[in-house]
């Protein structure tokens, strides 16, 4: 009997030993239902973005003027728009555009923001002053106005909308990581790393960056949601995707003239935007609870 108990105890010990901080975060992430739902939605849209064009029943720009503004039916699941294009197919294609814009813009701003934030926080002094003031200037404008201004300068296109969204998000990441670095660089293990003769760049790369990554991951996931909305907003305003591209915001803008006679042309792209955003938000909240338990509530 006691033999068995001892064996069990030993097993528990063995199991415990392999868990690092990331595995632990994963364990607690798995426990949150909303996080799993969010991730499922995100994975669903990612799959659509990857495989959508192959499963779309119609071409995105296949016009069929005799089938204009048809309500949802067996042939056109989400109905057709004013040019007789299949909305379902266009939404499938649009997932790729929206997700690409969201992910790329956030990736660019997270990398640039983290880089600037780490430099500002770690080296301090005049470097910090310059970088922080640039962030302040960028944050002084309402972000969508700034995005509009940037697109107006660069000229309206999907790529420029992406650049604009990336730029307006840089200060958010930068400030977040700067404040994190400020507290981490006073940690004793940083002093200890210096005391064994580690180079600054190595300290930044090996100790400061991994330890300040969690808020960036969380903020990044949530920012993808915002970026998708911002891309849609720019598309809606005619500053993002151009005419035939099936961008969701653009589809909304095109459909608003027929709001009363063909609401489906508006509802389905809107739903697509909403669902993606909810998915990323739920996933981001779950990540935050898992990675940063202190921030809960």
């Amino acid at each position: 009997m006691s033999e068995i108990i001892r064996n069990q105890v030993r097993q528990i010990e063995v199991e415990e030993k392999v868990k690092g901080p990331w595995q632990e975060a994963w364990t607690s992430f798995k426990k949150s239902k909303s996080a799993l739902v969010g991730s499922a939605i995100v994975i669903f849209f990612v799959l659509i973005a990857v495989f959508g064009p192959f499963i779309a029943p119609q071409g995105i720009n296949e016009q069929n003027l005799s089938m204009r503004l048809q309500p949802p039916s067996a042939e056109f699941w989400f109905g057709t728009d004013d040019l007789g294009r299949d909305i379902f197919s266009r939404i499938l294609h649009g997932a790729r555009i929206s997700l690409t814009v969201g992910l790329t813009a956030v990736l660019i701003s997270a990398v640039a923001g983290s880089f600037l934030g780490i430099i500002a926080g770690y080296y301090g002094r005049w470097i910090d002053t310059i970088i922080s003031r640039i962030f302040d200037i960028l944050l002084a404008f309402p972000s969508i106005l700034l995005a509009i201004a940037i697109v107006s300068i660069l000229g309206p296109s999907l790529q420029n909308a992406l650049i604009a969204i990336a730029v307006i998000n840089i200060p958010n990441f930068g400030r977040l990581i700067r404040s994190r670095v400020l507290s981490i660089k006073e940690e004793e293990y940083i002093h200890a790393a210096k005391a064994i003769g580690m180079r600054n760049t190595r300290i930044l790369w090996k100790h400061i960056l991994p330890n300040s990554m969690t808020p960036v991951i969380v903020q990044g996931t949530l920012a993808i949601a915002t970026a998708i909305i911002e891309a849609a907003a720019l598309g809606f305003l005619g500053l993002g995707a151009e005419a035939p591209q099936p961008e969701w915001g653009k589809m909304l803008a095109d459909a608003r003239m027929f709001l009363l006679n063909a609401p489906w042309a508006l509802i389905f792209p809107g739903l697509a935007i909403m669902l993606t955003v909810i998915g990323f938000n739920l996933m981001g909240d779950g990540l935050r609870d898992a990675l940063d338990p202190k921030m809960k509530n």
């Binding site: 415990e16 030993k17 392999v18 868990k19 690092g20 901080p21 002094r125 940690e187 004793e188 293990y189 002093h191 200890a192 790393a193 210096k194 005391a195 064994i196 003769g197 580690m198 180079r199 190595r202 090996k206 100790h207 991994p210 330890n211």
Partner: protein, 339 residues
């Protein structure tokens, strides 16, 4: 003493500059550590002992701090003039340091092995992963960490404070430094673990012949571990003596006060002795002896000029005018005060 001095600090002055002026946290202190010796620096918080150790490591936060005078000779080379790049080669390789808080001295995201191996590879970049790992395990065994082969895959949070401090000592010793600076290495540990760590440091000091600079405020630790003691007060060395001398025959009134304030378990006392007053704010005393305001023996001369270090006997020096008086100064004054 025929042993070679590995580290010599001469007239070291480290100043902190702030908006309200400059303050010398360490004020022209000189001392040396010999091969295989354990030297303790004791003093209250704020007396400059940690700044001294950071100055030696070249890690004084700058700004606001700066070494404004003096030299730090490591095997005859003045490392206080070294560039940052040169200093990095010294740190961890020739002088290593361990810190007060073992709980936070390790990066929580990486395994013990990962961090130890990295410490090896910083100074031996050509070593293979296998060699570095072997060295890490060897040093872990040396500092008495059990089942080192498994432990290298553990994360810091799985270790107790005492074990983490052993890991920190292992990390400091991994490149066989000549000098090990231990800044209050046992303050955060409970008493039994404290005794183990001190014993470990003594053993390692004997086996590896590493000189140890032990920074502490705990006279019990001093008595147990060191050969020589330096007492610091308000940025200055006030007394320096072999460890037996300092406990049997303290010369400076401050040292006496410190020793008197240690509780003695042989006698039951209701209140413990404490030195009256507080440590002066750095830079607040411009003239006279820095301890004069709290000193029960202070006389006129103490208020107007700062005493130099006087030789008491052999290797015993103290910064007190009482030693300046002819033959056995202190007893003179004591008898005068009594009458």
């Amino acid at each position: 003493m025929s042993r070679k001095a590995v580290l010599e600090v001469r007239e070291l002055e480290t100043t902190f500059f702030s908006d309200s002026g400059k303050v010398a946290a360490v004020d022209r202190i000189s001392f040396s550590i010999h091969e295989g010796e354990i030297l303790a620096i004791v003093g209250e918080s704020g007396c400059g002992k940690s700044v001294t150790s950071l100055s030696i490591m070249g890690l004084v936060p700058s700004p606001p701090g700066k070494i404004t005078n003096g030299s730090i000779l490591l095997n005859g080379k003045d490392i206080s003039k070294f560039s940052d790049k040169q200093m990095r080669k010294i740190r961890g390789n020739e002088i290593a340091m361990i810190f007060q808080e073992p709980m936070t001295s390790l990066n929580p995201l990486f395994t013990i092995g990962n961090q130890l191996i990295e410490a090896v590879r910083i100074h031996h970049p050509k070593w293979s992963k296998k060699e570095s790992t072997a060295r890490a395990i060897e040093i872990m065994k040396l500092v008495g960490l059990p089942r080192a082969e498994q432990l290298i895959n553990d994360y810091p949070h799985q270790l107790s404070g005492g074990m983490r401090q052993r890991v920190m000592i292992a990390m400091a010793l991994v490149c066989n430094p000549k000098v090990l600076i231990a800044d209050e290495p046992t303050t955060a540990l409970d008493v039994t673990i404290q005794a183990q760590i001190l014993k470990l440091m003594r053993d390692l000091n004997e086996r590896l012949n590493t000189a140890v600079l032990l920074i502490t405020h705990d006279l019990g630790v001093v008595a147990e571990t060191c050969e020589r003691v330096i007492v610091m007060y308000a940025g200055q060395i006030v007394e320096e003596a072999p460890v037996n001398e300092i406990f049997k025959n303290p010369q400076h009134p401050y040292t006496k006060g410190l020793i008197q304030s240690v509780p003695d378990m042989r006698y039951k006392k209701d209140t413990l002795y404490s030195i009256p007053g507080n440590v002066p704010k750095p830079g607040s005393i411009l003239e006279g002896c820095r301890f004069a305001a709290r000193c029960e023996y202070a006389f006129e001369r103490c208020l107007t000029s700062n005493p130099p270090l006087y030789d008491a006997s052999g290797a015993h020096r103290a910064r007190c005018f009482l030693l300046d008086m002819e033959e056995g100064g202190i007893s003179h004054v004591e008898s005068a005060a009594e009458s």
